[in-house]
């Protein structure tokens, strides 16, 4: 009987459990969960603040998930080290856990750049976990003025979540636009305008230079008074445990297309990894929930002796604020062409290079965008489809009869 150990208890871990069990019903599975909660998906925390979900519904899987899958979860303990020679890991409670196959699903942690006077701030919170969220929820009152450092996905979702709970929400970011990692100027401007129309205040191209108690002095010289500070500058992959064991690590743990690390019988999946993006043909950290699950599942199946690949990863994001949705996927490589259409309420930007759709940014109108995503993921030659029609609207009708017959007439 094989011994499987998973470090971490996020969606990659859940994928790993399901992957193992799809292949091996017998082996033991041990999950090392630093958090005290059964698997949930971290992006849900903003929806929790918005009251679109609650702690119960946030559970990623049914209550019986671990028992159904015969997985032993050790809540509240962290793995400290991997001993590849002995094939065991050591825990912060002094235990060691032997493994035959190990999957590292350690995720990421907030990255907080050194800021002067940060220690003088009383109410400061990262926004990553349920515990962060519960603490933040407790601290925020209808009179609160909230300053959020970071206008990325986390910061803005936090802003949306707190909307209506606080008196004033200000978001600042060193970048000159919101969602700088996924949106270009034009799209970001539309999104920013929409957020501003919903009462979020922005200070962009600037960040806090110094904190003095409840006031932040911005690089621009402005001072922002606040009651609650949210630190959402960014995240870093949790790679230490692999790096310390001698595994190859760059910005994330390097994995191949079966999610193997450079260490024997050690796999990794999720936000802690760095892997190949086919849209840009580069290796990068793509801390995305769908990819995390798919990596976890891939790792699990391969750990249990199966053979599947996860070799078509692309970055993609579905995010929305106050009813304005935004879908992005892929990349905009050097020298790509852009097809654009836009009006007051929506923007569509498609990026094409070498007869391939490499990426897109869509704001406002989110209808059947997965058809575009599939074009990127499948690296479909655009000369084989009716791209002139596809540009206007994603549709299978423009994908050619052969494709249509394949996907609509048979089992897919």
């Amino acid at each position: 009987m094989k011994k499987y150990v998973i470090i971490g208890n996020g969606t990659a871990a859940a994928g790993c459990i399901e992957g193992i069990r799809s292949t091996d019903a017998e082996g033991s599975i041990t999950v090392i969960s630093a958090e005290k909660y059964p698997v949930y998906c971290r992006p849900l925390i903003s929806y929790y603040l918005e009251k679109k979900t609650d702690l119960k519904r946030m559970n990623y899987r049914a209550d019986s998930f671990y028992t159904d899958n015969h997985a032993d979860v050790r809540y509240g303990v962290s793995a400290l080290a991997i001993n590849t020679d002995e094939k065991e890991i050591s825990l912060d409670n002094g235990e060691t856990v032997p493994y035959d196959a190990l999957c590292v699903c350690t995720g990421s942690a907030p990255f907080i750049p050194p800021m002067q006077g940060l220690d003088t701030v009383q109410n400061k919170f990262p926004f990553m976990t349920i515990d962060d969220t519960l603490a933040l929820e407790k601290a925020v009152t209808p009179e609160s003025r909230v300053l959020i450092i970071g206008a990325g996905l986390i910061g803005l979702k936090c802003a949306e979540g707190l909307h209506g709970r606080a008196q004033q929400i200000t978001v600042c970011d060193l970048a000159p636009r919101v969602l700088s990692s996924i949106l270009d100027d034009k799209c970001a401007a539309m999104m920013q305008k929409h957020l501003e129309a919903n009462g979020i205040r922005f200070l962009l191209g600037t960040s806090a230079k110094e904190f003095i108690g409840n006031s932040a002095v911005m690089q621009s010289g402005e001072t922002v008074e606040f009651d609650v500070l949210v630190l959402a500058v960014g995240v870093r992959a949790n790679t230490a445990i692999v790096r310390n064991a001698g595994g190859n690590v760059s910005r994330g743990i390097l994995v191949d297309d079966v999610c193997r690390t450079s260490l024997p019988d050690v796999y990794a999946a999720g936000d802690c990894t760095e892997y190949h993006d086919i849209s840009s043909n580069s290796v990068k950290v793509m801390a995305l929930m769908p990819n995390a699950y798919m990596q976890g599942r891939t790792a699990g199946i391969n750990m249990a002796g199966g053979a599947v690949l996860f070799d078509n990863a692309i970055p993609m994001n579905s995010i929305g604020f106050f009813g304005l949705h935004c879908h992005t996927a892929g990349s905009q490589p050097e020298g790509c062409e852009m097809y654009e259409e836009s009006d007051d309420s929506h923007i569509k930007r498609l990026f094409v290079k070498d007869d391939r759709l490499t990426g897109f940014m869509l704001l406002g109108h989110m209808h059947r965008t997965g058809i575009y995503t599939a074009l990127i993921r499948n690296r479909t030659p655009l000369s084989e489809v009716d791209f002139a029609r596809l540009k206007i609207e994603p549709q299978l009708a423009a994908m050619g009869e052969a494709y249509r017959n394949k996907v609509l007439k048979g089992v897919v």
Binding site: P43, Y47, A398
Partner: protein, 143 residues
Amino acid sequence: MKRIYVKEQWCLGCRLCEYNCAFANSGMTDMAKALRGKQIYPRIQVETEANGVTFAVSCRHCNDPICVKSCIAGALSKKDGVIEIDHEKCVGCLTCVLVCPYGAVIEDGSGVAQKCELCMKNSCGAPACVKGCPNNAIVYEER
């Protein structure tokens, strides 16, 4: 398992399937009451090829469903071959819309995702689009 398949050779592009779908999932007993004066968000959609060929697209209930894998809320799941959506859990992030290669998961007009669940959850009993197709262009069968 039985799935919905389209026979485009017989599709007339009348779009009755879309309206039958919208009605079946409206929870109402009168179609006029359910749909009159309303924008519909059917879970099956008729497409038209440049040469005039029409066909309806709805969830393929894939063997390896990327929407289920991608759902951040664990709201999508596959049970007995049917990909279902738990509207209690769905937070409306629309990741499923972003990943479905067939464009079969769609937003319901209120920010929540919806998709064909083979009319298993409504009072129709069998897929309304299939029942209502006047030319057997949509069939529900084993393949």
